[in-house]
């Protein structure tokens, strides 16, 4: 038993080998307000509750089609989007609920979209993988792995061209880092010094394919070096570290130093998608279940941050319980809203193929 735990701990250490540069970053911004820290915690709780509901409704058959949740990865979404300003752009991928909520999306509209309703962010034409809302700076989410990176480069190009001061952040996984677009875009962003953050959520697995089977190096941030892009590897379970690193990246971009790659090491607590077919995959042995359980027990970003805030006397346990209650309530409302909303009318199938 003990032997097993120490083996897992060494595995974790390997997967979460921390880049020494990162320590300095956190020191630069020690002035986060307590209220802001609590807001980070609240957003993570909101996402977790949202995703848990979505998980259940998918199992019940109330939600159709592919649904990817970000349970376990909330600190990345929240740390990044809280560091960005409202007008900054984000471009997402198939696992798209978390950063939308973190960037301030209305969860009623988000849930309605996931239910395929006319009141959804995309009028029911996008669904879970494509939730998008330009009013919060979201430039869409693409379900084709790696395809958001070029679009993000374009947004960053437009900002540079117009000199509007906006930053673009594109989210993608370790799987996407093996797509050609990753390499094309790193090169492009580097030569054009685009104001863009490449946010690589390295959860070590793409569906059932472990990174270690498909990449010679588990440290993907090294890849940025050959393109002349500065990069960092960070603990994606530590929301403050994510936040500070992104703040620092933004500062560097605003100094004109160009694109940044941030590799956040994290863990996907659920299966690749929700639903019965994917639940089955948790028993086929493509990844070490004990390792995942270790992450869930010891590296849950919400637990880690709750404990830290309690230890620092920033929040009391009862207040955290209160946040949970409020967010539960908000999510219940979102479900009710999605539920009573109507489906799009059949004629809507023909609208917006082209803009008139």
């Amino acid at each position: 038993m003990n032997k097993n735990i120490s083996r897992i701990e060494s595995v974790i250490k390997d997967t979460l080998k921390i880049n020494p540069e990162r320590a300095d970053e956190t020191q630069k911004f020690i002035d986060m307000e307590n209220s802001e820290k609590i807001s980070l915690l609240r957003k993570m709780i909101r996402i977790r509750r949202f995703e848990e509901k979505v998980t259940n409704y998918k199992l019940d058959g109330k939600i159709l089609g592919p649904v990817h949740t970000c349970v376990g990865q909330e600190a990345v979404n929240v740390g990044v989007c809280s560091a960005l300003s409202d007008h900054d752009y984000i471009v997402g991928n198939h696992r798209s609920h978390g950063y939308m909520i973190a960037k301030g999306a209305k969860i009623n509209l988000l849930m309605a979209e996931i239910f395929g309703k006319s009141t959804g962010t995309n009028g029911g034409k996008g669904g879970s993988m494509h939730v998008s809302d330009i009013s919060i700076g979201s430039l869409g989410a693409s379900g084709i792995v790696g395809s958001g990176l070029p679009v993000a480069c374009g947004a960053a190009f437009a900002s540079q061209y117009k000199n509007d001061g906006k930053i673009t952040c594109v989210f993608f996984g370790d799987g996407a880092s093996n797509e050609g677009t990753f390499h094309e875009c790193m090169n492009l962003a580097s030569i054009w010094k685009l104001p863009i953050i490449f946010l690589l959520e390295n959860n070590g697995v793409a569906v059932t394919t472990l990174l270690k089977g498909v990449s010679a190096s588990l440290d993907l941030y090294h890849r940025a070096q050959s393109y002349g892009i500065s990069s960092k590897q960070i603990d994606g379970q530590n929301v403050e570290e994510v936040y500070y690193t992104v703040k620092s990246a933004i500062a560097s971009i605003k100094e004109g130093k160009g694109a940044v790659l941030i590799e956040a090491k994290t863990c996907r607590f659920h299966e690749h998608q929700e639903g019965h077919a994917y639940l089955r995959m948790s028993d086929v042995g493509y990844r070490d279940k004990q390792e995942v359980n270790y992450w869930i027990a010891n590296k849950d970003p919400i637990k880690l941050f709750s404990n830290k805030l309690i230890a620092e006397d920033i929040i009391a346990t009862s207040e955290i319980e209160h946040i949970y209650a409020e967010e539960n309530h908000n999510i219940e409302n979102a479900i009710a809203y999605a539920d009573i909303s109507s489906f799009p009318s059949n004629e809507d199938a023909y609208s917006n193929v082209f803009i008139k």
Binding site: G126, S147, G154, A158, E184
Partner: protein, 323 residues
């Protein structure tokens, strides 16, 4: 002003770059273009707006998509039509679906320019005319200009359009020359009746228009009164103009530069068969590339491609058909 098809493209780019500072032009070798259609633009507008790109077709098309979503008007020159395939995901999954998937939250004023290089001994990988592939990708407009005036006016319309447009120029027409009215506005989606006639409708796509027009004296000689209609754009397709003509003539030949299977010609044919069955006096005739990759040897390409002789023969056959 007299200009060649190639010059017309340059003049349209120049005008749009001049008119609107949010227009940017990306492309491979765009600052020193081999065929002259971007001559001097970089000196006039600078490297910030006439942008040489790395050979990263997916990244470039995607960049143009993203920049268009964020308020710029983007033009990408991918040069040869075959290179579209390298950027296929960004074209078919991103550009084509952005309006629809996000339910109209964004505008997408994007123009992708390519040239088709058939009948030029360019062999299989540099000779494609892949417009039908994109007709089967809802969300993209497709223009296929066949003369300098259309090249000019349709390019300007494509650039200002708030939807993604693929602009197929035809390299076989690059040095054709005619008077171009720079104030003539042609909306995308309007076919052009090149010549009126009463016996048979000849619908032409891209370079086939010129071939058909060259054939006109021979048809007149044979006492065949042909109505030649150049589609000018495939999406949207001005099917009403075609139908009106076929209702009148009852006979139709469609000439397409694409390979025959699932071509623009076969699509037009299918619409006519569905909608005008009782108006047709004869089967619908199609002349297109045979369904083989384009061979290098000159005689082999002539063997498989639509030629003057093949269109002539098809027209005569359809004219001779009696129910």
């Amino acid at each position: 002003m007299k200009m060649t098809y190639g010059t017309a493209i340059r003049e349209a780019l120049l005008k749009e770059l001049e008119d609107d500072k949010s227009v940017v032009l990306f492309g491979e070798d765009i600052q020193h273009n081999l065929y002259g259609y971007t001559d001097n633009l970089v000196n006039i507008f600078g490297k910030k707006r006439v942008i040489n790109t790395p050979l990263s077709e997916a990244a470039i098309v995607g960049t143009a998509v993203g920049a268009a979503m964020c308020g710029l008007t983007t033009i990408v020159d991918l040069t040869v039509a075959n290179f579209l395939y390298v950027a296929m995901d960004q074209i078919a999954n991103m550009a084509a679906k952005t309006n629809y998937m996000y339910n109209g939250q964004f505008k997408l004023p994007l123009t992708i320019m390519v040239s088709t290089l058939y009948n030029s001994s360019s062999a299989a990988q540099h000779s494609d005319r892949p417009h039908p592939i994109f007709m089967n990708t809802p969300g993209l407009k497709i223009v296929v200009p066949s003369c300098p005036q259309d090249a000019y006016s349709l390019l300007r319309s494509a650039i200002v359009d708030e939807n993604p447009v693929i602009y197929f120029s035809d390299r076989s027409l690059f040095y054709t020359k005619e008077d171009v009215d720079v104030n003539c506005n042609i909306k995308i989606g309007q076919a052009s009746v090149l010549t009126e006639g009463s016996d048979i409708t000849v619908v032409t796509i891209s370079g086939c228009s010129k071939i058909a027009m060259d054939l006109l004296p021979e048809l007149i000689n044979e006492n065949i009164s042909a109505e030649i209609i150049d589609v000018r754009s495939l999406v949207p397709l001005d099917i009403n103009t075609i139908k009106k003509s076929v209702r009148k003539t009852g006979r139709v030949v469609i000439a397409d530069t694409a390979h025959k299977s699932c071509s623009a010609a076969s699509e037009i044919s299918s619409i006519l068969a569905e909608d005008l069955f009782y108006d047709l006096k004869a089967p619908i005739g199609i002349v297109a590339y045979d369904d083989v990759p384009v061979p290098f040897a000159k005689n082999l390409e002539l063997q498989i491609m639509p030629t003057k002789e093949k269109i002539y023969q098809k027209v005569v056959n359809i004219m001779q058909f009696n129910k």
